[in-house]
């Protein structure tokens, strides 16, 4: 058992760092999240229209940064009703059973070029896998923008009817641009 002063100190420190770097909600009206898939060699980018998330990032302590992102899988909009209906089917996102995908990042590792690498867990269609995403943080008026592109395997998450394997490639790029307002 820890001595009481140490417990007290850690509680106080925790509280103070919590004050400095409060968890803040992503301003989705100024953010975009999209996936680029490739069909017949043609890259097609489509946005997720609904997502939400929170970021807890004290620039002085990148290793302690945390973020969560909830994505509404039924909000993936390819811009065509037939496509959108296809991609919500059980063989793809199965949005009826798995309406949400969640990415939880813990810790930003600084990279040489001033960017970061976020390590996190993606839960999609009931499957879980670790994902490392390069992240660039840019200060903007009123907050910071976190952006990056990460490539993932759709098949690793059971996304896709095998009948389409010859037409739609396995790697899918996820592009994100998340704006987090500064704490007031």
């Amino acid at each position: 058992m820890k001595p009481i002063p140490a417990v007290l100190a850690s509680v106080l420190l925790g509280a103070s760092s919590g004050l400095l770097a409060a968890e803040r909600a992503i301003d989705t009206s100024r953010s975009t999240l999209s996936a680029v898939f490739t069909q017949m060699g043609v890259p097609v980018e489509a946005p997720f229209k609904r997502f939400s998330g929170r970021v807890d990032h004290d620039p002085a302590k990148p290793a302690d940064a945390k973020a969560t992102l909830d994505i509404d899988t039924a909000s993936f909009d390819i811009g065509d009703d037939d496509y959108n209906a296809e991609v919500r089917k059980p063989e793809w996102f199965d949005s009826a059973h798995y309406p949400k995908a969640t990415f939880t990042a813990t810790g930003l590792k600084p990279a040489a070029d001033g960017s970061f690498e976020a390590t996190g867990t993606l839960v999609l269609k009931g499957r879980k896998a670790e994902l490392k995403a390069p992240v660039t943080v840019k200060a903007e008026a009123g907050g910071s923008r976190y952006s990056g592109v990460v490539t993932m395997s759709r098949k690793a998450f059971g996304i896709g009817d095998p009948a389409w394997d010859g037409t739609v490639e396995d790697p899918v790029k996820i592009k994100f641009q998340l704006f987090v307002p500064a704490a007031r």
Partner: protein
């Protein structure tokens, strides 16, 4: 100033012009039929394959059409056979001009439509051959360009039908050897 005169028999199109004519004819008839068929299909991998083939064939037509216009600029066609009414020559000339325009305009409208729909054209599915998007993704513009592409295609279909009917009329009714000038093989009476 004198223009270099190519060694072409005056009564026949050049071999290059004939090859380009029939290659483009084959591709536009094929592309038109595939285009009509594919749009009615339910979404499936086969539908996407047909769309890709349709686009690749269209881009091939565009490249061949440019080659053909350049060739035509340097190699005048044989003069029309004598004894035809003036209106007929004028109609044929106008139809030929329109067809030259359409073999460029139809694939261009398809390319624009594809760009506006958010689908870049990737020639033969080869990433290095991804064509630039001519316009940004825009739903309203895509809907308009779809109409334009269809309208240009029906115009071309009507003109191609007239063009082919005129060739048949020359061959079977006038029996004047106009068609032979564009046939890939030499007509028998030429060797006599």
């Amino acid at each position: 100033m004198t223009m270099p005169s190519p060694p072409v028999p005056a009564d026949r199109y050049t071999t290059t012009a004939i090859a380009l004519h029939w290659l483009i004819a084959l591709l536009i008839v094929g592309g038109f039929v595939v285009g009509l068929y594919m749009t009615g299909l339910k979404l499936s991998p086969d539908k996407l394959k047909l769309y890709s083939w349709h686009k690749w064939s269209g881009m091939t037509v565009l490249a061949l059409a440019v080659l053909r216009l350049v060739w035509r600029g340097r190699h005048p066609p044989p003069p029309p056979l004598p004894g035809q009414p003036r209106w007929q020559l004028q109609a044929a000339h106008a139809a030929h001009l329109a067809l030259y325009g359409l073999i460029v305009a139809v694939p261009m409208s398809g390319w624009l439509y594809s760009s506006a729909s958010g689908y870049p054209v990737v020639y033969f599915g080869i990433k290095a051959l991804q064509l630039p998007d001519l316009v940004d993704k825009n739903k309203e513009l895509a809907a308009l360009l779809k109409e334009v592409h269809e309208w240009l295609n029906w115009t071309m279909a009507a003109l191609v039908t007239m063009h082919a009917a005129a060739a048949v009329k020359h061959q079977l009714i006038d029996r004047d050897g106009t068609l032979a000038r564009m046939l890939p093989w030499r007509h028998r009476h030429r060797s006599a």
